[in-house]
């Protein structure tokens, strides 16, 4: 409703959140204190979630906050605090000039690739045409995501969860070995 009546309002906020995400990401990679860096990454996650919601992908936006900001980053902070890595002086392992230059070049290459991709025709072929889903009305906003995931692509979905399970078991095995 809003983006029909108030296009300026919508556009302004879209770019505002984009700006917040960019600035947050830049500050995140330049912090030396791991806790500060982690918190800036949380800011980026929230800005991205806002962008997803504005693009009508509310489910992805909420998952962004729930999984990344609410779970993964909390575990990051937990580990940082547990190992007491809070003091920046201990962590001054920034690579030399060559490393920074290389990282910058890779970053530029990625940005250039993105720019090129948005202008090419490949992306248009990848766009899935909107499915006419009769159940979408009753299943709300989750239905269009859950339907394909648990019907057409069930095997791939389950295989992915087995992969995660393998990783968890691996972590447990490694942790057990060390304690013995």
């Amino acid at each position: 409703m809003q983006n029909e009546f108030l296009p300026l309002f919508y556009t302004f906020h879209f770019y505002l959140f984009g700006l917040i995400a960019l600035v947050g990401a830049i500050v995140f990679v330049t912090r030396k204190s791991p806790v500060a860096a982690a918190l800036w990454l949380v800011v980026v996650m929230f800005a991205l979630a806002a962008l997803y919601v504005m693009l009508d992908a509310q489910f992805v936006g909420m998952m962004q906050i729930l999984v990344y900001a609410g779970a993964i980053m909390v575990v990051f902070l937990f580990v940082v605090m547990l190992l007491n890595l809070g003091h920046p002086s201990d962590l001054n392992d920034m690579r030399g000039k060559l490393g920074r230059l290389l990282a910058g070049l890779v970053g530029l290459a990625l940005v250039a690739e993105l720019m090129a991709l948005t202008r090419s025709e490949v992306t248009m072929k990848l766009v899935v045409p909107p499915v006419e889903n009769a159940a979408a009305g009753t299943a709300g906003i989750i239905g269009p995501i859950a339907g394909p995931l648990f019907k057409e692509y069930l095997l791939a979905f389950e295989l992915t969860s087995v992969l995660l399970l393998v990783a968890i078991i691996g972590a447990v095995v490694l942790a057990k070995k060390r304690s013995n």
Binding site: V35, M63, I65, G70, M81
Partner: protein, 428 residues
């Protein structure tokens, strides 16, 4: 002309309002909710002290104002006037930011909780919820998962080992119980078939309250909600006998006060979630009068009163539990979360999902009959859980004895790690 269109009156008070009215109504709802909520938080601190006094056969605060009702104002003024101290070598910015981060998530959750049936006005029908998000339920989960930052950062920024330990405990505890909490609410979503909170309430008004249909899930949610709000018996992050005051050891004046305030704010929010997900939200039981249109002002008031009384009951329940149960030990806390609540909730999801599937195949429509079958299954499951599986373990540990094996294990551990000098061996 543009403004006239934005704020146009509609012919039928049951239809959607125009954009301008929608925005103004949202701002008004925000202000009203904020005011009611803040007063509620302030008076729940007062209620805590009076109820604890009542439980312990004391008087409690009764000097400021009639029955001590102005005690809240006195506390507020005292906290603002006090001197603030900043610990040396603390991370100043995070130290100041943390109390705010602890409080804000509890408040944001209220944006999606429906608190009454729609209100008809000359400008259109106003839904009594600030933002009826299509992903309302996921929003509450997401925001409550962010709530831990305030406590963790307070613990870290204070540069104090007790505070740090409190923060560490808080983050481990909240992540552990979030999983059980999320799993227990999967069952609610299975029944409602949607993640919009209004749909969850509508489903409960048709089939009966989820507390009856999904009692095991409601039980797990209740326990996890206690852990998520750091209330007794899960207040390990601020266990005063071990950690002085835990994560807020270094805080003083109003910044300290923000932590208790955020605890009560979280408590009210968790009560509202409990009421919405499992106790019908604003639905008035035993009648369909409130769920069907046309909506009137009287219906809005009655449902709002119903919702508030449910929330207040759970706030009282929180306080009641605090003055009844002792605190868990840390290993008990972890094993309860991971070894008991998580497997039970996972198994329960399977049970509920297969029941729903079987009933759908049998052609039972989603209504009272559907609810009755689930209710029957739940009685059996609750009986099994409380009287067979849990015999003398969790619900009644106070008067049960440890079995021989566990006693031996504890003794062996205490001998091995004892700091006391070991008994002198013969011949030494």
């Amino acid at each position: 002309m543009m403004t006239a269109m934005l704020f146009a009156q509609v012919a039928n008070s049951q239809t959607d309002p125009s954009t301008g009215v929608f925005i103004i109504a949202t701002v008004v709802k925000m202000v009203v909710i904020f005011t009611i909520y803040m007063v509620g938080v302030a008076y729940s601190t007062f209620a805590e002290r009076r109820v604890s006094a009542w439980i312990q056969d004391r008087h409690g605060p009764n000097r400021v104002g009639p029955q001590g009702l102005l005690q809240v104002a006195a506390d507020g003024i005292k906290n603002i006037m006090k001197e603030e101290t900043y610990p040396g070598y603390a991370s100043q910015a995070l130290f100041i930011l943390a109390p705010g981060l602890a409080f804000i998530p509890a408040f944001i959750t209220w944006a999606v909780i429906p608190f009454g049936s729609p209100l008809p006005t000359p400008w259109g029908r106003i839904d009594l919820v600030v933002a009826d998000l299509p992903v309302g339920f996921l929003f509450t989960l997401a925001i409550s998962s962010v709530g831990v930052y305030g406590i963790v950062l307070a613990g870290w920024a204070s540069n104090n080992k007790y505070a740090l330990l409190g923060g560490l405990r808080a983050s481990a505890q909240m992540i552990s119980y979030e999983i059980a909490m999320g799993m227990s609410t999967v069952c609610v979503l299975l029944l409602s078939g949607n993640v919009s909170l209004n749909q969850v309430i509508a489903q409960q008004s048709q089939m009966g309250w989820n507390a009856l249909l999904l009692s095991v899930a409601a039980f797990i949610f209740l326990i996890s909600a206690f852990a998520e709000t750091n209330r007794v018996p899960f207040d390990l992050p601020e266990a005063e006998s071990e950690l002085i005051a835990g994560y807020h050891t270094e805080y003083s004046a109003m910044k300290f006060s923000m932590f208790p305030i955020s605890e009560y704010a979280n408590m009210i929010t968790a009560s509202a979630m409990m009421a919405t997900l499992f106790f019908g939200g604003w639905d008035i039981p035993f009648t369909q009068w409130d769920n069907t249109g046309p909506f009137t002002v009287l219906k809005s008031l009655a449902t709002f009163a119903m919702f508030s009384s449910k929330v207040l009951f759970f706030v009282f329940f929180y306080i009641w539990i605090r003055w009844t149960l002792p605190r868990f030990r840390y290993d008990q806390l972890m094993s309860l979360g991971w070894k008991i609540l998580l497997p039970i909730s996972l198994g329960y999801v399977v049970v509920v999902a297969s029941t729903v599937l079987a009933l759908d195949y049998a052609g039972v429509t989603r209504g009272p009959m559907f609810g009755a079958v689930l209710f029957g299954i739940n009685i059996v499951l609750m009986g099994l859980l409380l009287f067979v599986a849990d015999r003398g373990r969790l619900v009644s540990p106070a008067y049960s004895r440890l079995d021989k094996r566990n006693v031996d294990k504890l003794r062996a551990a205490s001998v091995g790690r004892s700091t006391l000098p070991r008994p002198v061996e013969k011949g030494a």
